[in-house]
C-alpha cells in the first residue's frame, strides 16, 4: 500500500520534503512507518514527533491503509 507522509516545521527541514510517498506491506502500522522514517532520517528521532493519520492524532499501533495521509507533527507552538 502507498502512504503519503507530510512533514512540517523542523521535520520538513530535516527531510527536505513537504511530502513523500512510502510503500508499506499490507497490515503495516504507524510504528512500521515510524521505523522507516527514523532509519532514513536518524535526526528525526530526537524531535519528539507525534503522528496524525487522516487529520487525527494517532497512536503507533494504528493500522494503516492504502492512500492514508500521515503527518509528522513536531512539538506544536501556535498562538
Amino acid at each position: 500500500m502507498q502512504i503519503t507522509v507530510r512533514f512540517f516545521a523542523v521535520s520538513r527541514e530535516m527531510t527536505g520534503a513537504e511530502r513523500q510517498l512510502y510503500t508499506l506491506p499490507e497490515g503495516a502500522t504507524l510504528q512500521d512507518l515510524q521505523d522507516q522514517l527514523f532509519a532514513a532520517y536518524p535526526a528525526l528521532e530526537a524531535q519528539r514527533v507525534r503522528f496524525a493519520v487522516n487529520l487525527t492524532y494517532a497512536l503507533l499501533n494504528t493500522p494503516l491503509h492504502d492512500s492514508d495521509e500521515v503527518a509528522c507533527i513536531p512539538p506544536v507552538g501556535g498562538g
Binding site: 507530510r6 512540517f8 496524525a52 487529520l55 506544536v76 507552538g77 501556535g78 498562538g79
Partner: protein
C-alpha cells in the same frame, strides 16, 4: 476573511468562525462575527508577535500550519468550549501563518455569551488548548540564528 461557513452552534443563529489565513487578521472583523443583539458579553484574546523573548531581540517570526488539520482541531476546540460552557453562544478563532513582523497579530479569539460569567474561563481554555494541540508551529528569527519554539 473568507465566508466559508463555520461550525453551526446549536444554541445560536451565529456561525462559528474558524480559519487559518495567510493574510493580516482584522480583530474588528473577527469580533463582528460573534456580535449579536442577544450577546451582552464579548471577550477577545489577541496574540501579538513579541519583539523580545528571554532578553533576546526577535527580528520576525514565521508561522507554519498543517491547515486542513489545524482547522479541524480548532473546530474540535470550539465544540469542547460549547460542551463545557453551554452559555457560550459563539466562538471565533483565526490564526495567521507565514512571516509576521513584530507587533503583528498572530491569533484572534473572540467568544460571545449573553452574560460575562463564562467568557473569561472559556477564553483562557481556548488559547491554552490551541497552543497544546493545534498543528501550528512558529520559528523565531534573530540576528544570529533561528529556532522553532514550543512550550511542550
Amino acid at each position: 476573511m473568507n465566508d466559508e461557513p463555520g461550525v453551526q452552534n446549536p444554541k445560536s443563529k451565529i456561525q462559528n468562525l474558524i480559519e487559518i489565513t495567510a493574510h493580516p487578521i482584522s480583530t474588528d472583523e473577527v469580533v463582528a462575527r460573534v456580535a449579536d443583539p442577544a450577546n451582552g458579553a464579548v471577550v477577545t484574546f489577541i496574540g501579538v508577535v513579541r519583539g523580545v523573548t528571554g532578553g533576546r531581540q526577535t527580528l520576525y517570526l514565521e508561522y507554519e500550519a498543517y491547515p486542513e488539520m489545524a482547522e479541524k482541531v480548532l473546530r474540535q476546540i470550539a465544540d469542547e468550549i460549547h460542551a463545557r460552557w453551554p452559555d457560550i453562544r459563539a466562538v471565533a478563532m483565526v490564526h495567521r501563518v507565514g512571516r509576521l513582523e513584530i507587533g503583528e497579530t498572530a491569533v484572534v479569539i473572540a467568544l460571545a455569551a449573553s452574560h460575562r460569567a463564562p467568557t473569561f474561563d472559556a477564553l483562557r481554555y481556548a488559547i491554552d488548548r490551541i497552543k497544546e494541540i493545534a498543528p501550528i508551529w512558529k520559528k523565531e528569527f534573530w540576528a544570529d540564528g533561528a529556532a522553532w519554539r514550543s512550550e511542550h
